[in-house]
């Protein structure tokens, strides 16, 4: 894996890009008379720092065993859920339900991902988590706003834990290119030249995280340049139709240009990147709506001093299940 030249080129390219972005951010910070809004420069620099963190997380996946990557994503998801529930008003009678959500379901989901038990981890939270939360809240003996409370807890569990856990789940798939799959299906039993699987799953995970983060940035950038029609002013004042479409389109082009790192061909990579960029955008919208409802600017400002992990990974949470589904459906053997 580490000796693979494609992986090295990809990682070096991303590091170079991040290095350039960091230098630009540093330069802008030292130029107060550049005419740029200092708050914008600060936001830019904070985003760059978050990217360094995320990229080191997925870069670590290239060197560490799969299980270590799963644990790292588990910690990230745990922190995101902490922020989500801290922000969500729950009643004191939900305390024990929340205890099991944090202590049992969160680690169990990632353990199942680490064991590669697809049947179990794909249903644990959407089905059994829902059943458990609903029942446990009922057992607490407090029927007030029952459905609302169970929905809040379940939403946190699905968005922060389940969706994010599907990103490291990519590492356990046996991925082939579509051409190889066609060839495999046509091969007679016991043939000599069997196509090998793609095998560079950590690189695919890196590609996915990189594309989603670039999607965020490009949507923001195009929104600043072209943005005219705001989608929902009450939810977010910066997210525009132009930003969404131009940003996702350019993300698709970027993803297609990087197809050589993936098992996809140019067209497949472009289409997949378009879809995950749109999903990431939807994630940003949804999390904005939650934040506006609670009257806060960032998850980070809710509890002062915390970085706001959820602010950075909201798009990943929404894009991960989509990317996982597309990869599993079209690029693995049925």
């Amino acid at each position: 894996m580490i000796s693979d030249p494609i992986t090295w080129i990809f990682v070096a390219g991303v590091l170079l890009l991040l290095g350039v972005a960091t230098t630009v951010g540093h330069f802008l910070k030292g130029q107060p008379e550049s005419g740029l809004n200092p708050a914008m420069v600060q936001t830019f620099n904070r985003r760059i720092r978050a990217w360094w963190l995320l990229c080191s997380l997925v870069a670590a996946a290239l060197f560490l065993p799969q299980s270590a990557t799963v644990v790292l994503f588990g910690l990230l998801a745990f922190w995101a859920l902490r922020e989500f529930i801290t922000l969500t008003p729950t009643r004191l009678s939900d305390h024990r339900t929340l205890f099991w959500v944090f202590i049992l379901f969160t680690p169990l989901q990632f353990v199942l991902v680490g064991l590669g038990k697809y049947d179990l981890y794909s249903t644990l939270i959407p089905v059994y988590g829902l059943l458990f939360v609903t029942a446990r809240v009922a057992f607490s003996g407090d029927p007030k706003r029952f459905l609302e409370r169970t929905a809040k807890i379940q939403a946190g569990l699905v968005l922060c834990i389940y969706c994010l856990s599907l990103a490291p789940a990519l590492l356990y798939l046996n991925i082939y290119s579509t051409a190889d799959i066609r060839q495999l299906q046509e091969l007679p039993q016991g043939a000599d030249l069997v196509p090998q699987p793609y095998g560079k799953n950590p690189l695919l995970l890196f590609y996915f995280v990189f594309v989603v983060q670039m999607g965020d940035a490009l949507q923001y950038l195009w929104g600043k340049i072209l943005g005219r029609r705001v989608i929902a002013p009450a939810v977010s004042t910066t997210r525009t139709w132009e930003g969404m479409l131009a940003g996702s389109g350019s993300t698709a082009l970027l993803g297609a240009a990087l197809y050589w790192a993936t098992p996809f061909n140019e067209w497949q990579a472009g289409c997949i990147c378009l879809v995950i960029a749109l999903a990431g955008f939807a994630g940003g919208m949804a999390m904005s709506a939650i934040k506006r409802d609670r009257g806060v600017q960032d998850y980070g400002t809710l509890v002062v001093g915390h970085g706001g992990v959820l602010d950075r990974i909201d798009s990943l949470c929404f894009a991960a299940p989509v990317f996982f589904l597309l990869t599993k459906t079209f690029f693995t053997l049925p």
Binding site: T90, R96, L98, V303, G305
Partner: protein
């Protein structure tokens, strides 16, 4: 060794982040007074102090909780807790004198002037202990400490914590003014604490 470890676990578990607003960590003798919403309060405030100051600071904690089991007694012993029996307060053995004797001329205190844990986010009226502490030792700096979200991490009546995030705000120190009445001082202290909520 155990002390820093306990502090680290407490900070990880409660996701506590400390903010110092118009106040700096200092080794001078202080009375940190905080709103009381959870049994973890004293431990968490103590844990969020910088190491040097932590060693000089003794939180006041309820004996009926922290003295109950082996583990709790062990933890309490390592975070320098001063266990006060709330049921056994006598006139000739007032807890104020006991506390002042314990801290001598080096240590600081963490107290909860509401007396008992409030159920929700409301901050109740202050008991007079804080006033007597400051009256007998006018050199003590009274520092308001606001705890946010602790009541959801370990609410009353629960014994298992939920690892959410919390925030601890240290406010500007205050002193007992000469001739200030008890009620005025306690009101002023409570106002200072409430102000930290939105700081």
């Amino acid at each position: 060794m155990t002390g820093p470890l306990i502090a680290m676990i407490a900070k990880l578990l409660t996701g506590a982040s400390a903010r110092w607003v118009d106040c700096q960590p200092d080794t001078c003798q202080r009375v940190y007074f905080a709103n009381h919403t959870s049994h973890l309060d004293s431990l968490v405030i103590w844990s969020s102090l910088p190491g040097v100051i932590r060693n000089l600071t003794r939180p006041v904690a309820a004996k009926d909780y922290w003295g109950k089991t082996m583990l709790r007694r062990y933890v309490a012993g390592h975070f320098n807790a001063l266990l006060i029996d709330r049921k056994d307060i006598k006139v000739h053995q007032s807890p104020v004198d006991l506390l002042l004797r314990e801290i001598g001329s080096v240590n600081s205190l963490i107290v909860f002037p509401e007396g008992h844990r409030s159920a929700g986010t409301q901050i109740g009226a202050f008991k007079s202990g804080l006033y007597y502490l400051c009256k007998k030792r006018p050199d003590l700096e009274a520092v308001p400490v606001h705890l946010d979200n602790m009541n959801r991490i370990l609410p009353r009546g629960e014994f298992l914590p939920v690892p959410l995030l919390s925030c601890i705000t240290f406010g500007p120190p205050m002193w007992l003014e000469t001739g200030e009445q008890k009620a005025d001082f306690l009101d002023r202290a409570r106002e200072n604490l409430l102000r930290l909520k939105d700081a």
